[in-house]
């Protein structure tokens, strides 16, 4: 039993923390790719920018500025790292009594560092370091939550938020890279490495598929792998697990979020990369994004904004 408002805030902490991490990684890859003065480098940077919704990567906008805005610009349409961290922390502050001190202090520290007046200077001086620091701190936050919070209802809401956001973001990344959005088929080595890096998947991929990089394997790995924590399948698996526990013992009518998550998970479980190739990746990736939106809405309707008449004690 927990307050509906609190559950909602914890869910959003999870989502914003995941978003901050993903954006940091995209910015890092973007900066790294531009070190290569090749077409492939430019292509990789443009993929990253497309994945964050910079619709027209105009030739004049320099990738460093784009990465800088993605990290530090609070007003950036579509969000930024600083914006996500501020929102995560603001949500956490509203439920300060529900999270452990260890967990809170990690997030508060991150927030203080990212919003410090010296942050811009630090970024300009050594952006890769700055971003690596943020990503490492976000891992500490998740580790602290895992190690110190009771794995009960509140924690499940937070983790569900993490995985829902992750599934959404990876689906969008894959859609931008592999559904012909960019016009050309992606086959350049550096571009493929960059895609894997953006999903933090390079090393696990190499272990699974060896250094044989091609878009078919990458799609398979990031869509269907059961063990890799950033594959969509893994995230939908976790979502189904946590939502099942959250709605256990409750009378939930139609629109049960656990049912939606289970359906999505089953679809991923019974589809393989051949099916995807025959229909095009776009269909399944779009479906993942749409289903995530539906699960989000169903959670809100079920746990937070339910009509009171239905829940009055008899």
């Amino acid at each position: 039993m927990m307050l509906a408002r609190v559950a909602d805030s914890l869910y959003w902490v999870g989502r914003y923390v995941e978003r901050a991490e993903h954006f940091s990684r995209l910015a890092s890859v973007m900066l790294n790719a531009t070190l290569d003065r090749t077409d492939a480098g430019t292509q990789a940077a443009e993929l990253a920018r497309a994945a964050i919704g910079d619709r027209e990567p105009a030739a004049d906008a320099n990738p460093f500025e784009a990465a800088r805005a993605l990290v530090l610009n609070r007003e950036r349409a579509g969000g930024s790292v600083v914006d996500s961290l501020s929102r995560a922390r603001e949500n956490a502050r509203q439920v300060r009594d529900q999270i452990t001190t260890e967990t809170w202090e990690r997030l508060n520290l991150l927030y203080l560092r990212a919003t410090d007046s010296r942050a811009e200077h630090e970024f300009d001086a050594n952006a890769p370091d700055f971003l690596a620091g943020i990503i490492a701190d976000l891992h500490l936050f998740k580790g602290a939550a895992d190690a110190t919070m009771s794995h009960g209802e509140g924690w499940r809401f937070m983790v569900t938020g993490v995985h829902l956001e992750r599934a959404r973001l990876i689906a969008r990344l894959l859609r931008v890279c592999f559904s012909g959005h960019q016009g050309a088929v992606l086959d350049d080595h550096l571009a493929l490495v960059s895609v894997l890096r953006m999903a933090c998947a390079l090393e696990p991929y190499l272990r699974a598929y060896t250094a044989d990089l091609n878009s078919r394997y990458i799609l398979e790995f990031l869509l269907f792998d059961e063990d890799f924590p950033r594959s969509i399948r893994y995230s939908t698996d976790r979502m189904e697990e946590h939502l099942n526990r959250l709605s256990r013992g409750r009378e939930i009518g139609r629109g049960d979020p656990a049912r939606l998550a289970g359906r999505l998970n089953a679809r991923l479980a019974y589809t393989d990369v051949e099916d995807v190739e025959s229909t095009g990746a776009s269909a399944i990736l779009t479906a993942v994004e749409a289903e995530c939106t539906a699960i989000h809405q169903a959670m809100f309707d079920t746990f937070v904004a339910y009509p009171l008449e239905m829940r009055l004690p008899a």
């Binding site: 039993m1 502050r93 509203q94 300060r96 009594d97 202090e105 508060n108 520290l109 009055l312 004690p313």
Partner: protein, 505 residues
């Protein structure tokens, strides 16, 4: 690291340093003739054994830990809001066991009397009938809530949490300056300061024999539960906060977390059939006791201020029906009114038949012609306060005011004497503080916390507020005040000569 000397050895050389000015005020650490007071000797020794560098370093660590924990208040600027920590001082303020024993007895006596007084004025009104307190002063006060009349309050505990402000005058005597009976705050600073002090001076802390304050949250929970004890076996307690933008939000979350109860906002609660429910992920759940950190005016738009969105519509009716307990009870503000304050010694005598253990500051009620004349004649020596105002507004500090300001205030006084009281200007006692790397005296007050439910308990500790500006007597955090930890010593703790911990820090 310098070895600490035992108390006896150290006393010879333990004197006020040359650069620590002796003022008019009573100093907590140094006696008037310059020697260190006995209960401060351990600490003084320790401070002297640490260099300026080390002290500054510890101060930094302390501030950083507050920032990290999020013990902050928000300052709203032109286009942004920044969070600041409340300045906190390294050195604890120490109160000896006999001094504390008197304070404790005095506070318990006072709160018992005030609870009886509240029960009376919202009930039979005998004290008014007997002419001890003027009728119009009580019934005419805006803080008197007629809605509260003839309402059953368990144990007559109207004030469950009280944070009185005490000051120490030039002669070393403690006075009560104000009874905060509405929604007193600051207890989280007491607890956070303590946690910090334990880390800053671990050896001294252990040797000195400091009474613990850490039980406050569970004593508070027990007090709150006792308010529902006779009608709900396992009451659901919640803390009601105005929300994250309130300057004391940190404290609300802190107490909820340490008590293990939900922290709710008005929008989380709803009323059905005069029962209070909170909206949880699994549906509605009954609430029995509300520790509200929202002012009377805002708890229920149907009964109090109609434009409030912080409270819950219908809450007061649920309270009247006996289905929920609100702590502190609405309407307690009438007893900490500045004019009623003057009557507290008579109130204690009336209900308990005892003299007040802790004296009041001498107060002139301008509603009485003779006292008005005295006030007008001595405007340059007195502090004049408007009865209804707080937070330093509507106040004249005679000695610091210009002749024109005094003349203007005199007119206001004559026009509406009932609205004013006057008190002599008191030099608050001073305590050593670390200011820009130097140890200097600053004026301090003392806010202990008293809980009252089925019994009255005083936590042996307090929030010591510090006026950080040199010479300033204003300790409010909104006006540049800070705080420090307060150590209450236990009588039976012999000074311990085991120095290992101290030397090893």
């Amino acid at each position: 690291m310098v070895d600490i000397q035992t108390v006896q050895d150290g006393s010879e050389s333990m004197r006020r340093p040359e650069d620590y000015p002796a003022g008019l005020a009573y100093d907590e650490m140094f006696a008037a003739e310059g020697g260190t007071r006995p209960h401060y000797q351990l600490l003084h020794n320790r401070i002297r054994s640490l260099g300026a560098m080390e002290l500054a370093e510890r101060q930094q660590t302390l501030e950083r830990s507050f920032l990290l924990q999020g013990i902050t208040f928000t300052v709203y600027g032109a286009d942004s809001a920044t969070e600041r920590i409340i300045p906190t001082d390294l050195f604890p303020r120490i109160i000896s066991a006999p001094e504390w024993a008197k304070i404790e007895k005095g506070l318990i006596q006072r709160l018992k009397a005030l609870n009886l007084f509240l029960a009376d004025i919202y009930g039979a009104q005998k004290i008014i009938g007997d002419g001890v307190v003027p009728r119009d002063l009580i019934l005419g006060a805006p803080s008197y809530r007629r809605q509260m009349q003839h309402l059953y309050v368990p144990h007559n505990a109207y004030v469950n949490v009280c944070g009185s402000d005490l000051i120490r005058g030039e002669d070393g005597e403690f006075f009560v300056l104000e009874d905060n009976l509405r929604v007193p705050s600051g207890v989280s600073y007491m607890l956070a300061n303590r946690e910090a002090a334990r880390r800053t001076f671990p050896g001294t802390f252990r040797q000195a024999g400091v009474k613990p304050v850490e039980r406050y949250p569970d004593l508070l929970l027990a007090t709150l539960k006792s308010m529902a004890g006779d009608w709900r076996p396992n009451p659901q307690v919640v803390v009601l906060t105005p929300g994250v933008y309130n300057s004391a939000y940190y404290e609300h979350a802190y107490l909820a977390r340490l008590m293990g109860v939900p922290l709710v906002e008005g929008r989380d609660l709803s009323i059905h059939d005069n029962l209070v429910f909170m909206r949880t992920t699994a549906g509605l759940r009954r609430v029995d006791v509300i520790y509200r950190r929202v002012d009377d005016d805002f708890i229920d738009p149907l009964s109090f201020r109609r434009d409030s969105s912080l409270g819950v519509a219908g809450l007061f009716n649920a309270y009247r029906s006996g289905n929920v307990v609100i702590c502190n009870a609405p309407g307690t503000g009438v007893a900490d009114d500045k004019a009623v304050y003057a009557f507290v010694p008579s109130i204690i005598k009336y209900y308990l038949g005892e003299e007040a253990i802790l004296p009041n500051v001498k107060t002139f009620l301008c509603r009485i012609p003779a006292e008005l004349n005295h006030t007008l004649a001595n405007l340059d020596k007195l502090v004049v306060k408007a009865v209804g105002a707080s937070g330093g507004y509507g106040m004249l500090v005679g000695p610091h005011a210009s002749a024109a300001e005094r003349a203007e205030f005199a007119d206001a006084l004559k026009a509406d004497p009932e609205n004013y009281i006057a008190q002599p200007t008191i030099q608050l006692s001073t305590a050593p503080c670390l200011v820009d790397g130097k140890i200097e005296p600053r004026h301090v007050d003392l806010r202990p916390f008293i809980l009252s439910g089925d019994k009255v308990v005083v936590t042996p500790g307090a929030l010591t507020r510090v006026a950080l500006k040199r010479g300033s007597l204003v300790v409010n955090s909104s006006q540049g005040g800070g705080s420090k930890d307060t150590w209450v010593l236990s009588d039976d703790a012999p000074p311990d000569s085991d120095d290992e911990l101290e030397a090893g820090q």
